[in-house]
Amino acid sequence: MLSRWLNAQVSSSPDCVRVEFPAQTVNMAIARAVAAAIAARADLTVDQIEDVRLAMDETLSHVMSVAAPDSSVLCEMCVTDGIVSASIRCPVASPDIPEPNPFSWTVLSALVGDVDVTIENNSIVMSWSVARDSSVQA
């Protein structure tokens, strides 16, 4: 997980978009809109775009609930071979953070694949991905 994140950070891939914003709920709409635009551009279906929006919502709700005061959330979304992957990272007040609410977890894993939550260097990192439908001609 760490290596994937670091690779993404150093990559100058034109297929990655990174947004950073204060860990405040008012900014969730921005992240949702960015996520939806990237999902649309990656030729995900309208339903999948909705899934991505909702997944971003669930992810940020959890991340912001454990964020350290005055910290920033870094959202990175990449499109590689028809797979849209998201990685959301934010410093936490203490590495001893609560698990995501079980409903969040249920919803998130029903919407997107490869859901992962880790703590790295006092930051929470949540990641997931969605694959383009095989019947879509990109």
Partner: protein, 258 residues
């Protein structure tokens, strides 16, 4: 169904399985089945509310969203087949979300939207529905854009717009404030009277004293022409003539003043 702090996930899943067994047992009575169904619904209401809350910010009343989500849950319970080996929650979440999305798609704008946007929306919806039918899956934005002959970004913008339809009720009370309705002005039906009275008073003051006296007695004191005649010692005919002359003059002055 209690799901207090002592109930672990495993216990919950075991109870859930048992209830679904009852629901699918041919020998179960109607009341047993109804009871199991009710318990399953109740067990999963917190999940329904969790999902509804995610959508509530879109300006649709929370109760309406929760209701649509609950209908999705009930459908999921009725259609779930435990033998397929998929956990109920994994099966239920997409069904619940689908019901909420349909609710939002079917709801119409409660504010006036410019015709251009409405037409764009109609074109996009028609293309979306036709493509979904043909492809057997939800279409992509690029596919809709091509079919509807609408710019890719316009499709995206329209999708964004269609999720916003917030209007506030007139009796909604903002936190720490008075209801909206209390802060709205009202047309005072007596306001026109004030203006008229002001105009008439000015014109009345310009009348000769005897005419002013007659008008006052007739319209302010409410005396009849005969009573006025008696009081000022003239005939009723004279009062009538006096009144007519004064009123004609007043009317002309009012028209001139306006």
């Amino acid at each position: 169904m209690s799901e207090g702090p002592g109930t672990s996930d495993d216990e919950r899943l075991a109870i859930e399985r048992e209830l679904f067994d009852v629901l699918r047992t041919p020998g179960a009575t109607d009341s047993e089945r109804a009871n199991a169904r009710d318990q399953l619904i109740e067990m999963h209401l917190p999940l329904v509310h969790h999902i509804a809350r995610r959508y509530a910010e879109r300006g649709e009343p929370m109760e309406d969203v929760a209701q649509a989500a609950t209908i999705g849950l009930i459908n999921a319970i009725d259609r779930y087949e435990p033998d397929r080996g998929v956990a109920f929650s994994s099966y239920a979440v997409p069904t619940i979300i689908g019901a909420v999305r349909r609710h939002f798609r079917d709801a119409t704008w409660s504010v006036k939207v410019p015709r251009r946007v409405q037409e764009l929306r109609r074109k996009i919806d028609a293309a979306h529905d036709a493509l979904a039918q043909e492809l057997g899956r939800s279409p992509t934005v690029a596919e809709i854009s091509k079919r509807a002959d609408v710019d890719f970004h316009d499709v995206l913008d329209s999708m964004e717009l269609s999720r916003v339809r917030e209007t506030s009720q007139i009796d909604a009370t903002p936190p720490g404030g008075a209801p909206l309705a209390d802060r709205l002005g009202d047309v005072d039906s007596s306001i026109a009277g004030v203006e008229d009275a002001e105009t008439v008073r000015r014109l009345l003051a310009a009348l000769p004293e005897d005419e002013r006296a007659v008008i006052t007695m007739r319209f302010y004191d409410g005396l009849s022409q005969s009573q006025i005649a008696e009081r000022i010692g003239v005939s009723q005919m004279q009062v009538s003539r006096l009144l007519r002359r004064s009123l004609t003059k007043l009317r002309a002055d009012v028209d001139g003043a306006n």
